[in-house]
């Protein structure tokens, strides 16, 4: 286990494992200190990129995310893009509540920004 963070009222549950390579981000995201909270995650993802194992499965399921967390998530996706460049398959599942237009649209925005990543958006 490279990373295991429990959810709080304002921060998501995050887990990152090496074998199998899997990243999961679930919950609310409006931390008081965004760089402190996501810094460790970005670092852990970059660490995984340094020693890629197999194909990487990613699951993102957010409720509310503020704009500064979105920028941090963007940097995580840049790490995922680097992982893909190491000739590994990366599959991202972007899950959003079927009534949640905001999170569905944000999923489309990430698809637009990362055309080379395989991102599946799905309503739950």
């Amino acid at each position: 286990m490279l990373l295991s963070i429990a959810a709080t009222d304002r921060t998501p549950e995050i887990s990152l494992t090496h074998e199998p390579a899997k990243l999961s981000i679930k919950g609310e995201s409006y931390p008081e200190d965004v760089s402190a909270f996501y810094g460790q995650v970005i670092q852990a993802v970059n660490h995984l990129v340094e020693s890629p194992q197999g194909d990487l499965e990613v699951e993102v399921q957010l409720i509310y995310i503020n704009s500064s967390s979105i920028k941090a998530l963007f940097r995580i996706f840049e790490g995922l893009e680097d992982y893909r460049k190491k000739d590994k398959a990366v599959h991202i599942h972007w899950l959003a509540d079927e009534d949640d237009d905001i999170m569905q649209e944000l999923g489309e925005d990430f698809v637009d920004r990362f055309p080379n990543l395989k991102i599946t958006t799905q309503s739950t």
Binding site: R10, Y30, E32, V34, S35, Y64, N66, S67, S68, I70, K71, F74, D99, D100, D101, I102, E105, D109, D112, R113
Partner: protein, 173 residues
């Protein structure tokens, strides 16, 4: 302020359908408390979808005040929320330095008359930009507010003196 003035102020708040008014220093804790209050109020009378949009605009507006606000009652933030005929308007104000308004004015003028598609494109470009000067959200918050508003955002700059300006931004959902 005497009692008559207080009654006058209360009548103004009533007549303008003000559901929340705050002026003073804004901390992260206060933001969460007010957000909870707003959320429960909206959920009680509204659909969850709209309530989430209102929550999102509130959070982005108030986070801006925290990053760019001062600490005394003149320079710190103002939050004003009105609700009338099914529309909620969130207004956030703070006092900023004249020299910091140039970039803000430019960004606002780009956003104010832009259609939803243009705002979305600016938003997508903003996701990757990094400008520490603009706070942790680096301008993305403003685009988030514009994107979630059902009407174009409005704003005003009111000169205080040669060095400072009162800035106010309004978004209607």
């Amino acid at each position: 302020m005497d009692l008559n003035q207080a009654i006058g102020l209360r009548n103004q708040l009533r007549n303008n359908k003000v559901i929340m008014a705050y002026n003073g220093a804004i901390s992260d804790d206060l933001m969460l408390t007010l957000a909870d209050l707003l959320k429960s109020r909206m959920l009680a009378q509204d659909d969850p979808k709209r309530s989430k949009t209102i929550f999102s605009v509130f959070m982005e507006g108030v986070q801006n005040l925290i990053w760019h606000g001062g600490n005394d009652s003149d320079t710190s933030g103002m939050i004003l929320i009105t609700q009338s005929e099914g529309q909620v308007t969130i207004m956030c104000g703070n006092r900023i330095a004249q020299k910091d308004t140039l970039e803000l004015r430019e960004r606002l003028s780009r956003i104010e008359n832009a259609d939803k598609e243009t705002i979305r494109q600016l938003y997508r470009e903003g996701m990757s930009s990094s400008n520490e000067h603009e706070g942790p959200g680096a301008g993305l918050g403003l685009l988030e507010i514009a994107r979630r508003s059902s009407q174009p955002i409005s704003y005003a700059f009111v000169d205080v003196d040669a060095d400072t300006v009162d800035f106010i931004l309004a978004a209607t959902i």
